[in-house]
Symmetry: C2
């Protein structure tokens, strides 16, 4: 058998969200490992993937990926697929796995997947190049409320840049932060630090189930969004910086933003 390790990003939803070439490559694999604790495929069970590919999919726990032993051992003797939701290499452990494969002399191929980093701006009609650094909001533990996400969003906003705000995913505990929780996170941070990141007239954008047939987008003021039913996670949040006319128009037209944001620009 051929020794090879094939990294595949499955995209955001479904068994048909990966590229045609990734699908063809996975069908030629002798064994397939999946890592779903750093990301998640919306509305798709492992069994659906197994049926689409006609192969068993071995789901790895966090510790198994961090050790990498099984994956590397198998990839020395056969063609192994390593699949993740979104794009591949999004977690440091994936890069580590690729490095270990290289050190073991295993040939590697990488098949890119649709990533929330590009899909979320697309869905909202926001221009990708105007996004600053990305921020992740962690679930608050008792007495733990880190300030850096607040600072980084503020830094972007002060420069007129949009911020993609990723919400905590703890797939192993089945906990996914909602946009409502994220908005409350930011409002709590504002009342704590008061540097003027967010107030009642700050426009926020929410994209839910990005890349799925039931994807929806919302834009509005914090209190209005908090009153709306945004549906089940996964949710993404964007705090926009300076909006181009066409961006503001798209948010009004597609995401229900108040029309006054067009005049404000």
């Amino acid at each position: 058998m051929t020794s090879e390790l094939i990294f595949v990003g499955l995209g955001l939803s479904g068994t048909d969200g990966m590229t045609v070439k990734a699908f063809n490559a996975l069908k030629e694999c002798d064994k397939i490992y999946a890592e779903f604790y750093t990301s998640m495929l919306i509305g798709t069970k492992v069994e659906d993937l197994e049926a689409a590919l006609g192969k068993r999919v071995h789901v790895l726990y966090r510790a198994q990926v961090e050790e990498c032993d099984d994956v590397i051992k198998d990839a020395m003797e056969m063609r192994v697929g390593f699949i993740t939701a979104g794009d591949t290499m999004s977690a440091t452990t994936h890069v580590d796995l690729r490095i270990q494969a290289a050190e073991a002399g295993i040939p590697v191929r990488v098949f890119h997947g649709i990533s929330i980093f590009s899909a979320c701006p697309t869905s909202l009609g926001l221009q990708h190049y105007k996004f600053g650094r990305t921020v992740t909001l962690p679930f608050l533990e008792e007495n733990y409320h880190p300030k850096s996400p607040y600072d980084h969003i503020k830094e972007n906003k002060d420069r007129g840049l949009h911020t993609m705000i990723l919400l905590d995913i703890r797939a192993d505990e089945l906990r996914y932060m909602t946009a409502h929780q994220a908005i409350e996170w930011l409002m709590t941070a504002e009342s704590e630090w008061g540097e003027g990141l967010i107030d009642d007239k700050t426009i926020l954008c929410v994209a839910t189930h990005v890349g799925c047939p039931d994807e929806r987008v919302f834009a509005g003021y914090p209190q209005d969004l908090l009153k709306m039913d945004l549906g089940e996670p996964l949710h993404s949040l964007v705090l926009p910086g300076k909006l181009h006319f066409m961006e503001a128009f798209a948010l009004v037209k597609f995401a229900g933003a108040p029309e006054e944001i067009i005049e404000d620009e």
Copy 2:
């Protein structure tokens, strides 16, 4: 016939770089328009796409997209596909087209494509969330050397953030900026403004033909990269900020960066 406008991002290369669901959707279209002047599918001719889809692909000029008339008129009467390389909605004119479709009451579906914004970090082993705003280097016209790209890269670097540097594409003139031209752009800018963005010991990363089977990555000092044959465009350039150990290790292992960058961190 069904009135519909389907936006599809084809990804970065080949006729199999789009998602399985996008491919299936395009096969059901009555007419397909393509826009290839803001982006380009590497190593793939329009005829290849036509053969894969079993349909004619009508390539639009810039003025035709900006007017949108034909696309909207057809989409009122049939199922129309509007395809672009990379992800869809990357240009303001695409968002405008979507808005016009909405105003004409045409149902719209969006199929995301692999974007250079996520694929380039993946290929280099750099973490996406550590990228600041994206910068595009324009070809220099006589006496035209804008300072803003230099400033924006410097701003990112000062914050420890990586910068994705997109290189000018003028598909209608068959001109594509190479990484060598881009490095010279930055060195000229440095000698003009001298604020310390780049010197002989600045690591730069180059990714060529990202998403293609012949994708390659390079990392090294400016003078060393200038001496190397980096192959044909399309090229992407990254000026990294503060490197995580695993990022530095990946650049050494996969892109030929000098080992001393690991010790420097």
